[in-house]
């Protein structure tokens, strides 16, 4: 099925994502930042749907907006102190931030204006019905070893998080 009104939805979702991202780095309260980040992640999962990646969109919602953000909110609840709200929110490295942002932004603009012809106008047609099956067969076939390593990484992360959060370290 051909997508309907792609430009409208792309610009709408891009605007939601960018406004959410700006709110993440501008909000004084960390809880507001976390909520803005959730909005950004949900808009991004909608963009994944536009790019025919329904499985990754579902993983994004379940893992990011559901799992990681709950973890963030729990930690904010544990460490949130009113003193942090009254402090200065930005450090004295703002000029480093501006320099890095302008340099990277200029680099991106240069690459994209130069490389406009590299990216093909016509994009490949993909099968959308069996996306999940094909992703799964790649994960359990060609990327089997990386998959196992990822499970090991998660085990290490679990142990690390438990050890870090122990009473005496």
């Amino acid at each position: 099925m051909a997508p309907i009104a792609t430009p409208f939805f792309f610009y709408l979702l891009a605007a939601i994502m960018l406004i959410g991202g700006i709110l993440v780095i501008m909000c004084r309260n960390a809880v507001h930042s976390a909520l803005a980040l959730i909005v950004t992640l949900l808009a991004q999962s909608a963009i994944y749907l536009m790019l025919y990646a329904p499985f990754v969109a579902g993983v994004q919602i379940i893992l990011y907006a559901g799992g990681i953000m709950v973890l963030f909110l729990f930690v904010i609840m544990l460490v949130n102190i009113d003193r942090a709200l009254k402090e200065r929110q930005f450090n004295s490295q703002w000029w480093v931030g501006i320099i890095a942002a302008t340099t990277l932004g200029g680099l991106f603009i240069a690459v994209y204006t130069k490389g406009k012809s590299i990216f093909p106008e016509r994009i490949a047609s993909v099968a959308e019905a069996d996306n999940t099956q094909r992703v799964a067969s790649l994960l359990y076939g060609q990327y089997m070893f990386a998959f196992e390593i990822a499970s090991l990484l998660l085990l290490v992360a679990i142990i690390g998080a438990v050890v870090m959060a122990k009473k005496r370290i």
Binding site: I47, I123, V135, L139, A157, I169
Partner: protein, 105 residues
């Protein structure tokens, strides 16, 4: 106008670049450790958006598989980072990243 209305891979890449820049600014300028970690999540999401856009461009699914691995890494990083943050908060009673200077000499 024509290029505005025909959404190509480049549009998604520009969106990803903008998100990446927001994350970099957040990491470099904020003082709250929690928000710095959230900015890192923004950066990882920008990378994921690029991977999915390229996967769409070539019609393969390798980019999507890689995006799933990046999400796994993001989960591990968030868990360990927030654990470190809790340990730090227990010792110093603050979430200000300027106070994280135990290894500074």
């Amino acid at each position: 106008m024509e290029s505005m209305l025909h959404i190509t891979t480049l549009h998604y890449l520009v969106l990803g670049a903008a998100l990446f820049l927001l994350g970099v600014i957040g990491v470099l300028t904020r003082r709250n450790v929690v928000i710095v970690l959230m900015s890192i999540e923004l950066i990882l999401n920008a990378v994921n958006l690029n991977l999915i856009a390229f996967s769409r461009m070539w019609g393969g699914l390798h980019g999507q598989v890689f995006a799933i691995f990046v999400i796994t890494d993001a989960a591990a990083e968030a868990a360990v980072g927030l654990g470190i943050l809790i340990a730090f908060f227990r010792n110093k009673e603050t979430v200000n990243i300027d106070e994280v200077n135990l290894l500074k000499w």
